[in-house]
């Protein structure tokens, strides 16, 4: 697709190796590469441009952790110094004893978090050995109730929406508390199971149609229909 200078690049599906734009007007972002004066997609997905930065939003692939990401994981193992957490990513992550905001007796680690517990955490650091996590912040820690669902991590930005528009719509419509982990795990806590299951359905709806235009309005319509069914 040829684009003239200063013209906005339209949202389009690209495949690896495809030229998104030519010339010096744009900068290559995530999922793109600059070869000569062409910006080329290196992933399959949707090409988008904002503030001259061209990037490709992938809809598949693994979770690539970033510092500061909010994630949800499962306690896989307990060691002498902390917990091994499974984030559903190929890299192993670790929550150190020091990153828990209270005093813990040696040998009493399982009283705080036991194997199989779900936990909301933040990515503290990424090293060559793996991911380090922390729960020393508000809103982080063990999950006691509610349900957890899994979507592809690449669809998380769409589920949250621009400035949280999508997730806020779901929250308002269902009156549930929703925590979206960047790794694709979503924690839903509502007043009853019916509400939680409705949220699950809504999120699956968004994940499936994640590339539709005006999805927030579509979602409102969807909620209306669902409520009529009851």
């Amino acid at each position: 697709m040829e684009s003239k200078t200063k013209n906005k690049i339209e949202r389009q599906v690209v495949i690896p190796g495809e030229v998104i734009t030519k010339g010096e007007d744009y900068l290559p972002g995530e999922g793109t590469e600059k070869v000569g004066d062409e910006i080329i997609a290196i992933r399959y997905g949707l090409a988008e441009e904002s503030n001259r930065l061209v990037r490709v939003i992938s809809l598949s692939g693994i979770y690539e952790p970033r510092k500061g990401n909010l994630v949800i994981g499962k306690v896989e193992n307990i060691t002498f110094y902390g917990w091994v957490i499974d984030l559903d990513s190929p890299e192993t992550s670790f929550l150190h004893l020091q990153e828990v905001p209270k005093y813990i007796n040696k040998g009493g680690l399982n009283e705080v978090l036991d194997i199989g517990d779900m936990v909301v955490a933040k990515v503290l650091d990424i090293t060559s050995r793996g991911i380090d996590l922390t729960i020393k912040s508000r809103g982080l820690g063990k999950i006691d109730e509610g349900i957890i669902i899994k979507v592809n991590s690449n669809k998380v930005p769409r589920i949250i929406g621009k400035g949280g528009s999508m997730i806020n719509t779901i929250k308002e419509e269902s009156e549930c508390n929703i925590t979206v982990g960047q790794n694709g795990l979503i924690w839903i806590k509502g007043n009853n199971v019916e509400d939680e299951l409705l949220v699950k359905k809504a999120i699956m709806f968004v994940a499936e149609k994640s590339f539709m235009h005006g999805l927030t309005d579509e979602l409102k319509e969807w909620f209306k229909k669902e409520k009529e069914k009851k």
Partner: protein, 236 residues
């Protein structure tokens, strides 16, 4: 030297540069991270991609870059005489060939200690199975969100007696007249860079160059089919 005769007729009546009807589709294996189907006429290949995931066994981990691991398999009912299921000399070789054909286009350096698994299964075989397999695998890798420089396309060029033809089928593979049949599978990026070429048989230097040019033209056609299938699977 006698050049290709104009009057040469292919057994199924195709033109020399005519590929069998192609079909391509992505997302056919819901459990996989990426998947694709590609067919040349009666040759059907499906590819499923899993990963990147931690390499197992651990001693095979490469801390410098990610690894690509392919497995080519012909299903026992894919040919007339049932073939014994399981790995064979031939399938192990083609697995390795598929890996080599795909690897130059991938950017898996950023996934150290990890592996990308590609499973290629031939549902139905009528020659050119490795080419169909590579085409399907390339689409499946893109579908799985693996970063890559380009999608590769593969085609088999055949030399029947002295005539060059595109996309051999079984009947042509068994061609006996004159110099017989020579099969040359070639894989290329849409820019025309060769990532894989195989040749066993006799061919002159000039004719091999001609064959590569023919492949360059044919892989472009295949690339368009692959591109269309990938683009159509996302609805905006």
């Amino acid at each position: 030297m006698k050049m290709a005769t104009k009057t040469f007729k292919r057994p199924d009546g195709r033109k020399a540069d005519e590929i069998r009807p192609m079909q391509a589709k992505v997302g056919i294996v819901p459990n996989a991270d990426g998947s694709a189907l590609f067919s040349f006429g009666d040759t059907i290949a499906i590819a499923a991609v899993y990963g990147p995931k931690k390499m197992h066994p651990q001693h095979q981990q490469d801390p410098e870059k990610g690894t690509l691991r392919c497995r080519y398999n012909m299903l026992s009912f894919s040919v007339d005489d049932r073939i014994r299921p399981g790995p064979s000399r031939r399938s192990t070789e083609i697995s390795k060939i598929t890996e080599w054909a795909l690897e130059p286009s991938l950017l898996i350096k950023r996934y150290p200690n990890m592996v990308v698994d590609v499973h290629v299964n031939i549902l139905q075989a009528n020659a050119s199975t490795r080419c169909a397999g590579i085409n399907a695998a390339s689409m499946a890798l893109a579908h799985a969100g693996i970063p890559m420089k380009n999608i590769v396309s593969s085609v088999s060029i055949g030399k029947l007696d002295k005539n060059l033809v595109v996309d051999l089928d079984k009947e042509e593979e068994d061609f006996k007249e004159g110099e017989g049949s020579t099969d040359i599978p070639i894989t290329m990026t849409p820019k025309g860079e060769v990532t894989h070429i195989q040749l066993d048989g006799r061919i002159t230097k000039e004719q091999l160059k001609e064959a590569i040019e023919l492949a360059r033209k044919s892989t472009k056609e295949i690339y368009e089919v692959q591109k269309k299938a990938l683009k159509e699977s996302i609805t905006t």
